[in-house]
């Protein structure tokens, strides 16, 4: 992958949920997989996340949510990305997502949902296959 510009990924924690393990592991893991990763830290609003995505010029936004509020929080982030003209980004959701909510997220415009136990390499592969940037 030498010479090619690195795919930039924003890992974000929307809402007040403090379960950070998944976000941190994915951030470290994707970095080792050769991506440029920016991790927002905890308690980010939809506006903050969308703004960071635009400013950092990322191709991928990964939302980590374990509070059960994944439907409303994801919808808000997608709406804000659209407002800021960044609705072409690859948006991924990770965390505690019950099977029945998965389809709802995909219908909203999320590219893929990764639940616990997913290898980082699988997430990396998905990004490489589906990211338009780079």
């Amino acid at each position: 992958m030498s010479g090619e510009p690195k795919i930039r990924v924003l890992i974000a924690k929307p809402g007040l949920d403090g379960h950070e393990r998944g976000a941190r592991v994915i951030a470290y893991g994707l970095r080792d997989e050769g991506f440029e990763v920016i991790y927002t830290g905890l308690r980010q609003s939809a506006i903050q996340i969308a703004t960071a995505a635009v400013q950092e010029d990322v191709g991928v936004v990964g939302l980590s949510i374990l509070s059960g509020a994944h439907l409303s929080l994801t919808a808000k982030v997608l709406e804000e990305l659209k407002k800021q003209g960044a609705d072409d980004l690859l948006v991924l959701v990770g965390g505690m997502v019950p099977e029945q909510d998965k389809q709802a997220l995909l219908d909203m415009g999320v590219a893929e949902v990764f639940t616990s136990g997913t290898p980082v390499s699988q997430v990396a592969e998905f990004i490489r296959q589906n990211s338009k940037s780079a």
């Binding site: 007040l16 949920d17 950070e20 470290y28 830290g41 136990g117 980082v120």
Partner: protein, 590 residues
Amino acid sequence: MADEVKKDESGGLDKVSKARAEWEEKVLNPRVAKFNLPKSPTRFHTPADAEGHDFLEKVGFPGQYPYTAGNSPIEFWKAYERLAVEADFRPDWGGTRGVGKYGGFGTASDYRDYLVRMHSMGRVGGPNMAFDLATQCGYDSDSPQAEGEVGRVGVAIDSLRDFATIYEPYTGEKEIDRQPSNFTINAPCVVILAMYYALAKKRGLDPARLRGTPQNDILKEFIARGTYIYPPKPSLRLFRDTLVFMRREMPLMNVNSMGGYHIREAGATRTQDLAFSMANAAAYVEAGLSAGLSVDEFAPKFTFNAFGGSMEFYKEVAFHRASRRIYARMMRDRFGAKKRTSMIIRQPITAHIGCSSTTLQRPLNNWVRACVGGMAAGMSGAVPGVFPPFDEPLGLGHSIEATQMQLDATRVLMYESGITDEADPWAGSYFMESLTDETEAEVLAEMEKIEAMGGAVAAIESGYMPRAVAKSAYERQKRVEAREDLVVGVNCFTGPHEINVSINREVEPTYDPAQMATAEDRQKAALADLKRERDGAAVVKCLKILRGHATDEAKNLMPDIVDCVMADCTLQEICDVMRELFGEYQQAKI
């Protein structure tokens, strides 16, 4: 290395070492060669590995220093195990002297109605409150930060009025000076505690009779879990204020419920879990000492909720033996504790597998995993508690089946296996004693490292502790992905012929989803009513006094916060006063 032993006073260890060398040469090594292994995958311990092991110094009797063999020779659950059978006891229902199941959702009245429903079913335990994330982070329900979070992972509390609503069913037999409460609250603990105190006052009860346990373990929030508000130093000052206030005004209350559970679940190793939580405990002790109290005046009211757990059975048993010894020695030798109750780790459970050992894949396997944890618990000084229910990773709410299986598994271990008939059954095992020593040595080394940095607060401020946990989490992930650590159904035995055994996911109805959907609006409406109806001048006055006192580090803020909640100041208004003065914690870069 322990095989190298002195001659005469070694009590025949020389002979053992010689015999071992011979065994290795004639028996072990040929097997290693036969199987073409790089080294032996098993170990075997002999008396030579426990050379110089001083039983009285290192283990002692159950209930005696250094408590390696247990906090007590007979724990209450053991004493009453027959009684529990006769009474058809369900620990999660609380009984009349304990707290009920951990829970909370929706508005204050939603949670109150739930408690009433529980009482009507004979589940009469005191409130064991989960708060929503807005409350935990010091925001009111009408705050923009609270949007979408109100009443979600716990009940929303904006004011004393909400708090009083929850307690409406707790009168007469269930009066709050008769039954304890648990509050899983950390950063705004000062406010919740003030509400509990104020509620007693308003009911004409003596707060000195109140029992209960706030989590009040703010330091671990910076390392894991993340519901902090202020930076560590002012947070610790508020902890000190709660400690002093409780000892003076509510002496039956437990001061805190510390632990390494959240730290390990966030990815920490066993050593980090214990070392970090011991360092945190030391910081809490120092906070009490700095207020001029002696350690025995408050340490008996320190409690632990849990340390972390894993599937590594032997290591978890050793962990608990080591943890008791480390804490007892720290409390006695470093802080001068004299009371037994200052030196023991008071916690409801010991070993368990930790929720992060459970898998989403083939979830019924989690039942087997949890039983392994139950065995480790039963062998390390606690009820052989099988935890968590197997459907833990499937989302909020354990199914009725999973809960029943968890309870019964604990009962099977307790009443059929006899594993709790021996206190510290591993005492004296060459292997377990050396593993306990190893665990202790590693933890003490890490504790010294933190001490050299300036203690827990410094190690949080520098980002050392949170970063170390994140790194360990990633190391684990790498080991799983590389199949160094094997997890059945996740990274091995996942072929197409394996099946996902179907399970029932019927969850006992707790709330009506339609009602939940309106919780945020209803809670906001109630808050708007409060803001309209209360005496605005009194609110302003109380907050002003609080602001004035908060700048003086020596001042205990609890009395002012009690005045604030009595005057119907909201949780966020109180927290905002301190936010302005103390600032908000900014995470160190990971």
